[in-house]
């Protein structure tokens, strides 16, 4: 149908085309005649409110991580023996735990380590995975085979289990936890980057650049990498959610950072013992994890839709 302008359209063909368009439109919009523009605008507004809310939630939690003392009403280590296991109230928004600590303040102070683990492991994973994927995709040949087979092997162990195993082998601690989660996310980033590089490498403008006498290094840094980065960045945004979840999970199992101020996963794990008497200790740290991951995923989804023309209007 694209070149119908070029070819003379017979009467029969015009009718056929009209029928096709009608049928496609019917299938897509359930028969209701909605202007395409109006539809796009209404969807854009509803989705945008959500994105703004998600952005605010992320900004607030980052604020908690950076300046917890401005937001938390109590010190996270302050034990008030007069207020043990109190239900949420005006004085203690999220209630108090077994030691009389304010759960809201604990959640606020716990943000720092929780986000730090998630963000650093994504950066680590993207750097290692992106580099390996770029090398595999750009150099190709035997090096490509070796790198990708190693990635395949890494993928035979489900992500959380691989992170768990590495964390167990390395021992507890923030750095080890980050390393474990980063390594377990490397194969995913490497695969995407490799695919992207290979797709870009065969484009005409790359050949043109080579033909003009550009050095391979220049072509890679100036043309291939900048044009391959978007999907990796989108994937990293969505990956931040899973890294936070993985960090909280490992922390929940006791492989986290053993500190006086627990991160969200460790806080949840501590509250598990008081489930029948104090629902709030477990509920609120989990809510914080969910709100952050949900917001990041919303933003990532939206970004992916914007980058990938195939997904427009979903």
């Amino acid at each position: 149908m694209k070149n119908s302008a070029a070819s003379p359209e017979t009467g029969l063909r015009r009718i056929w085309r009209g029928r096709l368009t009608r049928l496609t439109a019917q299938g897509q919009q359930d028969g209701r005649p909605v202007g395409k523009k109006a539809l796009a605008v209404s969807r854009f507004r509803a989705a945008d409110t959500l994105i703004v809310l998600a952005g605010l939630a992320v900004a607030f939690l980052i604020g908690c991580a950076l300046f917890p003392s401005w937001i938390a009403p109590y010190s996270p280590t302050e034990m008030n023996t007069a207020a043990i296991l109190q239900a949420p109230s005006a004085a203690h928004l999220f209630g108090t735990d077994y030691f009389g600590r304010d759960v809201f303040s604990l959640v606020v102070y716990g943000t720092r380590d929780s986000l730090l683990i998630g963000i650093s492991s994504v950066i680590g994973g993207v750097l290692i995975g992106g580099t390996l994927g770029s090398i595999a995709g750009y150099v190709g040949g035997r090096l490509d085979t070796v790198i990708m087979r190693v990635m395949d092997v890494l993928l035979t162990i489900p992500g959380i289990l691989l992170a768990l195993t590495i964390a167990a082998a390395l021992g507890p601690g923030l750095r080890n936890l980050v390393l474990a989660i980063a390594i377990s996310s490397v194969p995913g980033y490497a695969r995407v980057m490799r695919g992207q590089i290979m797709a870009i490498r065969s484009r005409g403008y790359i050949a043109a650049s080579h033909a003009l006498g550009a050095k391979p290094r220049h072509v890679l840094m100036q043309h291939v990498l900048p044009n391959s980065a978007a999907p990796l960045l989108v994937m990293a945004t969505l990956g931040l959610g899973s890294s936070i979840l993985a960090g909280a999970g490992l922390s929940f199992l006791g492989l986290g950072v053993l500190k006086e101020i627990p991160d969200w996963g460790a806080l949840l794990s501590q509250g598990r013992g008081y489930l029948t008497v104090a629902w709030w200790i477990c509920t609120f740290p989990g809510l914080a994890i969910t709100v952050f991951v949900l917001s990041v995923n919303l933003i990532g989804d939206r970004w992916r839709d914007a980058v990938d023309p195939k997904r427009k209007g979903r």
Partner: protein, 310 residues
């Protein structure tokens, strides 16, 4: 067809050998010293540590250790637990049925909820079901399993007292853990099925079918669904593997028996042979599931069936 099966089997075997080497490398090459994690270096003499190292064969060269390790694993000798010193393999096998049952139940939840919601939301795009599907999809991938598990316990065990919060006896104990674990898988599957179903519904062959005058349900549920399920099946295979791995958290939350629970306990006790054995076991199951997924393509997708090996 037979050629495809054999090729896949061989590559799966190679991958399993690779994952065996990977597990070996994680435990013996990373900077953690297994001996130092077994004993406290401040309380025992260096000779004791040296002795232990010799006993475990850690003083031998790398390739020798790797070969011994391969030989042991392939003959089913997974070593002995450092705690209680019982053999690892029977200890794992004893717990396998409970974990596989939980994984299967979770997979059932994930596939039924995920595929149904995904298909319906694509067919009725913009409607109520679509909204529900989007919420399930987003929350499924955003909620930590341990939290959804704990919320289920709070609601159905602590408040309503309908279902037990712990244990592994009887079918009632299976419901909450499989819901918590299955929900995560359902989230990913909904997103995938919805997306690929929407893609397929826009393809020219669907338009042709409509032009032919075929009834809409037949187009959607026979022709479109079949094509849309092909990418979804890869994801379902991976999700089942993730759910198997997820039992390490869910079995801990619900105090259920199983290899996930032993794994969590062994990690805390630094019982590396058991950890190693369980990770290797999971890798084998995971590779097996992916093999089945690959082979199932041939059954579903006539293009692959005709082409033979791909």
């Amino acid at each position: 067809m037979l050629q495809t099966v054999i090729a896949r089997l061989v590559s799966s075997l190679l991958v399993i050998v690779g994952s065996l080497a990977l597990v070996f490398c994680i435990f013996y090459l990373l900077p953690g010293d297994p001996v130092l994690s077994m004993v406290d270096p401040t309380s025992v003499s260096p000779e004791v540590i040296e002795n232990l190292r010799h006993q475990l064969g850690l003083d031998r060269p790398f390739h020798e250790r790797l070969l011994t390790y391969f030989g042991d694993m392939l003959t089913g000798d997974f070593g002995r637990s450092l705690v209680g010193s019982d053999p690892v393999l029977p200890k794992i096998l004893e717990q396998v049925p409970s974990t596989l049952l939980l994984t299967a139940a979770s997979a059932l939840v994930a596939v039924v909820v995920g595929v149904t919601l995904g298909v319906l939301s694509a067919v009725r795009k913009g409607g109520m079901i679509d909204l529900i599907a989007r919420i399930v999809g987003l929350f499924g991938i955003s909620m930590p399993t341990f939290w959804s598990g704990i919320l289920l316990i709070l609601i159905f065990s602590v408040q309503l007292r309908w279902l037990p919060s712990m244990g592994s006896e009887g079918w009632q104990t299976l419901i909450l853990p499989s819901l918590a674990l299955g929900f995560v898988g359902a989230g990913s599957i909904v997103r995938m099925v919805r997306g690929s179903m929407l893609d397929v519904l826009n393809e020219p062959f669907i338009t042709t079918l409509r032009a032919k005058g075929l009834r809409e349900p037949l187009i959607q549920y026979k022709h479109a669904l079949r094509s849309a399920l092909i990418p979804a099946i890869t994801l379902i295979g991976m999700q089942i593997g993730d759910m198997l791995a997820g039992t390490v958290i869910i079995e801990t939350v619900f105090s259920r028996q199983g290899i996930g629970r032993i794994l969590a306990d062994s990690i805390m006790a630094k019982d590396l042979p058991v950890v190693q054995g369980i990770v290797f076991f999971t890798a084998i199951v995971y590779v097996g599931i992916n093999l089945l997924v690959d082979l199932s393509y041939a059954v579903i997708d006539p293009r692959i069936r005709r082409k033979g090996a791909r």
